[in-house]
Structure formats: C-alpha cells, structure tokens
Symmetry: C2
Subunit: 195 residues, 2 copies
Amino acid sequence: MTDDAPTPTDAIVTIFKAIADESRLKILAHLSAEPASVTDLAELTDLRPPTVSHHLSVLGGAGLVTAERRGTTRIYSFLPSGLDEARRSLSEERGLSAFSDDETLEAWEQKVLSVFLDGETVVQIPAGEKKRMVLVRWIAAKFEEGRDYPEREVNEIIKQHHIDSAYFRRMMVETGLMTRANGVYRKPATPGRSA
Amino acid sequence: MTDDAPTPTDAIVTIFKAIADESRLKILAHLSAEPASVTDLAELTDLRPPTVSHHLSVLGGAGLVTAERRGTTRIYSFLPSGLDEARRSLSEERGLSAFSDDETLEAWEQKVLSVFLDGETVVQIPAGEKKRMVLVRWIAAKFEEGRDYPEREVNEIIKQHHIDSAYFRRMMVETGLMTRANGVYRKPATPGRSA
DNA sequence: AGCGTATTTCGATAAACATCTACGTAGATA
DNA sequence: TATCTACGTAGATGTTTATCGAAATACGCT
C-alpha cells in the first residue's frame, strides 16, 4: 500500500494551505461578497490574470470555489461549504487529534515498551508523562473488561510485572482505565479505541 | 505610513500558515492531547529535534503554543485560544470580507470610473457586474438621501449622465440604492458604507 | 472564416520553506 | 569542576511556490 492515497488529513491540509496566502484570502473575500471573473479579480487584487488563474486553481482544488462559464468569461463563486471541514478541525475538541498518525504512534508506543520492558517485566518507569501512560495502558491490558477485581487480585496481577502495584493501581484509576466502586475494581468497556 | 506594521490580517495569515503544514498539525494534535517536550514530539512525529524546535517556534510565533521550563527540558503546551481568531475568520459571514483591502478597492473603482466616464458622462456601460455596479453607485451619488423624487425627475438627473435612464433607474431600485413607493423614488440613508 | 477578448498553460525566476547535520548553550548531577 | 542531557541556532540543501511574460486555447461576434 503506497502513501499517495488522498486521506482526509490531506484534504484538510490542502484547505489550510489554500487559505494560508494573502492573495488568495483577498480573492476569497471578494468572491464571498459576490461572484467575479478572473479579470475583475486581477484588477481588484492588483495581480496579473495568470496569477489569479493559478490561485483560483488552488482554491478550486481545495473545494473553495466553483467556476461557471458565462460566454467567454468564467464567473467564479465562493463555496462556503468548502470551509466546513476546516471549521470542524479547528472547533471540535477532537478535531486536531485526527492528525496524530496512529501508525507512527503505535510504532512509538512499541518502541517505548521495548525500552522499558524486559519480557513481561517493567524494568523502569519512564519520566515522561506520555511514556508513563504507555506503560500504564500496557498494564491495564492485562485485565479483562467488565469483570470485577478485588483490590488484592489487582495488586497480584500488577506485581507480575512491577513491584509498585500501588502506583499503577492509582494511575489506572486516575486516568479512568479502571473504575473503583465499594472497594471493587472494574475495567470498563473501551469506548472506541480500535478503529 | 509604511506597510510593515503587523495588521490583524497578517496575524490571521500567520496562524493559517502555521497550521497549513502536516508536521505542525501532528505536533498540535499531540500537544492538544497533552503537553510534551521537544524530544517526545520528535519521536512521535518521526522528525529530528531541531526540526521540531523550528516548528514549535513557528507555532509559538502564531500564538498557538507556549513553553514552560522544567529543568533542562521545555514543556510545550497547546493554546486553544490562539485559534479563536482563525475560527472567527472562517465562521462569521463577515469574516472573510476583512481581507478585501479597501484601499486598492477604492483605487480600482476610481480606475473604472476614469475608463467609463468622460467628465460627467457615462460613455459606455461595462460588461462586468462589479464594474457596472461602480457606475450605478456613481449615478446614485447624484441623488440626495431621504428626499422624494418623482420618476420624471429621476429620469432627468440620470439623463444628464447617460441616455438610458430606465436602465440605471431599474438597477438602483433592484440593488436597493433607491426605493420606490407609490411612484415616488427615495434614496435611503447609507447604513454604513464609509468607514 | 477571421478577429478580439477572456482564460488557461508554459517556462522562468526568485523567494520561502521544511528538513537535516553540526555546533553552541544552559541547567542538572556527580 | 566536569560531564551529560535537552534545547536552540547556524548553515546547507532540495523542494515548493508565488509571480510574471509569452504563447496557446476557447468562445463569441461580424
């Protein structure tokens, strides 16, 4: 599988690249006021028609404008819906996280595990928060979902991998990987981790 | 007045340029999940630390991240408020129009007038919609605001500048530059054209 | 058919940029 | 004090890109 497939991430980057230019922003501003031809925009923006044509091509590639033939001229119009995706990326809390490549992230986590694990034993707790969490999640994977564990059993399982059972027990509860009710621990069902 | 002052438009363009890069989007994604150091981000993004440092500098210049010294390392954090301006530019209906430079626009209108006017006479009606509207507005400027004009007088005034009084009369009414009630014409007060 | 106008395409150029390696700097620790 | 580690800076390099003039294309009009 090559990497030249147009991913949704690419689409967003294309849109941002398209509007990250002063000339194109001016063009979009004029078009958002009313449709216009290339020569109109050239005079409005103080650019030569070929330059405007190029910018309109970029904007069109990002899905931000459309063209309609009107005799020999072409009337370009602004497509507000083209910005929807960009808005979502900036607005949603989860919008940006779409760009963290799960592939390299998984590879990185494997690397962290290979460094701090010796077989099934945690040989050292990393200093970085992100790296620590990789270990905590690895420990949490040793538990079954939806099953009740008394604290004694939780400690036993953790101690198979590291001496400080209290640390990992606390981390799992703090981060929601484990829940505690009436002294009984339980690993909730994963909401939607694996795609 | 030179043009090297940091205008609000520049700030927006800077922000868009900052997020219009896949590596920086990945970095922002990780930072939006949790603060991280340069080396952490370097491993996560599969880039060398100097490259990450450069990107963080760009993001910092756009007001999207902050750094906090933690011993020898620096913990970078995502600044969600840095995206507020960008969101506004994309969301508001009037957001994009902020980029249309009124200065060059006025100059362009003067140029259009100089081409299609001979003194006080319209020598030709331009083909482009935008250019036509410049002429229509110029004609409309010959009327006083808030005064009643019978159709006969409207035609007289227009004919001082162009023969086809019906065309300009209709255009002015269609575009709201003039209102017609009971056969009487009136130019409403300008809502907020001149800054 | 032939001409004029609007647009795109082509080729060139100069600037911006992402990325790297090599080096410099500043805290922390022994 | 010496050393180690994390970070930034400087310089180099290859790529992208914004812009232009010149030429090609498409369309309408006479």
